[in-house]
Symmetry: C2
Subunit: 341 residues, 2 copies
Amino acid sequence: MSSTSRGRRSPVMADVAKVAGVSHQTVSRVLNDHPNVRAETRTRVLAAIDQLGYRRNLVARALVTRHSRTLGVVSFDTTLYGPASTVYGIEQAARDAGYFVSIVSLRTMDRAGVRDALDYLADQGVDGIVVVAPQRSAARALADLPADVPMVAVEGDHAGDVSVVSVDQVEGARLATEHLIGLGHETVWHVSGPSDWLEAEGRIAGWRGVLIANGRAVPEILPGDWSPRSGYQAGRILAEMDEVTAVFVANDQMALGLLRAFAEAGVEVPGQVSVVGFDDVPESEFFSPPLTTVRQDFGAVGRNSIGILLRQIEAGQDRSRERLVVPPLFKVRASTAPARR
Amino acid sequence: MSSTSRGRRSPVMADVAKVAGVSHQTVSRVLNDHPNVRAETRTRVLAAIDQLGYRRNLVARALVTRHSRTLGVVSFDTTLYGPASTVYGIEQAARDAGYFVSIVSLRTMDRAGVRDALDYLADQGVDGIVVVAPQRSAARALADLPADVPMVAVEGDHAGDVSVVSVDQVEGARLATEHLIGLGHETVWHVSGPSDWLEAEGRIAGWRGVLIANGRAVPEILPGDWSPRSGYQAGRILAEMDEVTAVFVANDQMALGLLRAFAEAGVEVPGQVSVVGFDDVPESEFFSPPLTTVRQDFGAVGRNSIGILLRQIEAGQDRSRERLVVPPLFKVRASTAPARR
DNA sequence: GAGGAGACTGTGAGCGTTAACATCCCCCAC
DNA sequence: GTGGGGGATGTTAACGCTCACAGTCTCCTC
């Protein structure tokens, strides 16, 4: 039935040993770069390995070493640009470090779902887990989890006892809002992400902080859900309001929808209203107009999370409480302009 | 060192057996739903499992069964919408079937890279591999590979001896082109994807086929690379040409760039020129104007590829040569209009 | 009431590797 | 010349599970 039972069975260490005229343990030593192997023996073993096309059985190895060299990744909807980019960064960094990556992509990021995913990965025997936990519910699910496997959270909150790597959302929102205030806008409106998301929260905090620090009115938030459609709906509302001259939208997709609504309503951007997004998706440079936005370095997030996780694994500790914040980068394009007096 | 060496070792089957007063084999039978276990024994074993918090060691299990219940996925740049959606679909389908998914995301999809990735996954002991091979080079790398592990290609060509699941690119392009011809446009221009990509090729073939079948002139292709920027550049060229009234762009991202270039040049869409894209990314409904495009059902592609792969695995054959084509869906929005006479 | 078919359970071996320990041999110091 | 240190290698025992086979017990049939 199995593919191996048909042709010649694939060779095992003992086969190599026989061909090389040594014991299987010596083969193991060669494979593991053990120092005490005579050079001549080593080459003989290597030749035998080559001749037989031998490949070490990693499953057997994992059984005895108790290390699978596999990392688990739990993420919410990897179809979205942010999670997809983060997971990509994680995967690259892990592979560079010689680890396999096993992925679980969740449709909904509730407590039960996260727990299940974590159990599932623990069953598989992963050496560590990265949880891309952008929602409050997901982050909380991490807090009270049995701490028997190394773990690091990406974009989670800093409450639990796990390490967290994230982009500085508050700072990004601050940059965006200050940019608009600096252009002379009286205040800045905000289309937010869904309330359960930590990123949405951070962006609100940064935006509100700047407004208050500058003694400006804090307009009512227009709630969105990251989708272009919700941005469009917010845009329809804002287009009707003459006093609106600047909008900070919590992500680029919603900003696109907003731009669409403005275009339909004949509101000129940036002539009448300035718009800033968040994410810097590859498309945003080609929106109409090209979008001023905040770039997140997802690659750095991925690399850093793997770095922290591997340090935990190698130190043999289950958890640490490091916090690493990656700075955002502000990107000025053509959707913002000085306020008209 | 290892997390298990610190606290109490996690329980094994023998521990459960002792608590339940049975042999380890009976525990195994309960776990594997073997029919011949007395109900009373089963509940006793289950209780012991629960009491001890026992979890079966899947690594040990994989060693003896020679099945890891892990599937490998090789994909090109999972940051792109298409591959990301496909991998997402694959992952969901695999997990629903009780399989883990190990992912390798390649920066470049050349022959050596694909080989390495396949070796890497084979080492890990995956039961089967899905290769998202959208480029000709990748697809060819599959053709002459040692056939010792079940494999299925997604979006590959149909030349090698592996099964292939793909969206019908030719048909999608045909729908787009026929739609434009049907609107009275004399001919249709095309901004293509990179030449090495099979999808790009299929879309060209479908487009060209319709033009020839209708006795229309086949304009020179404007080559793109999927990026919004390349669409923008093509748009700058096309905007200068008065005879252009309809453009079929090989993906939505490039279509966005093209729309941007047209907007800058004052070319009205769909007033002066009609535009059709491909992919139906979530954003395209909110482009200016909302984009008429071709939707690909990536979820269906993922499910079908996993279905074929699992059938191969369960049948114990390494390869089959099935070909499954998922039909595209044409989506009319506001970027196309009847030709002006 | 003996024989046999099932149902249920236990025993032992083995998956392919690494870890721990044992062994051999060479060479050097006293 | 002998004791011993250490490099190079071999031997044996795990790791935690499933498979094959061997039991035991019950119940039915003739």
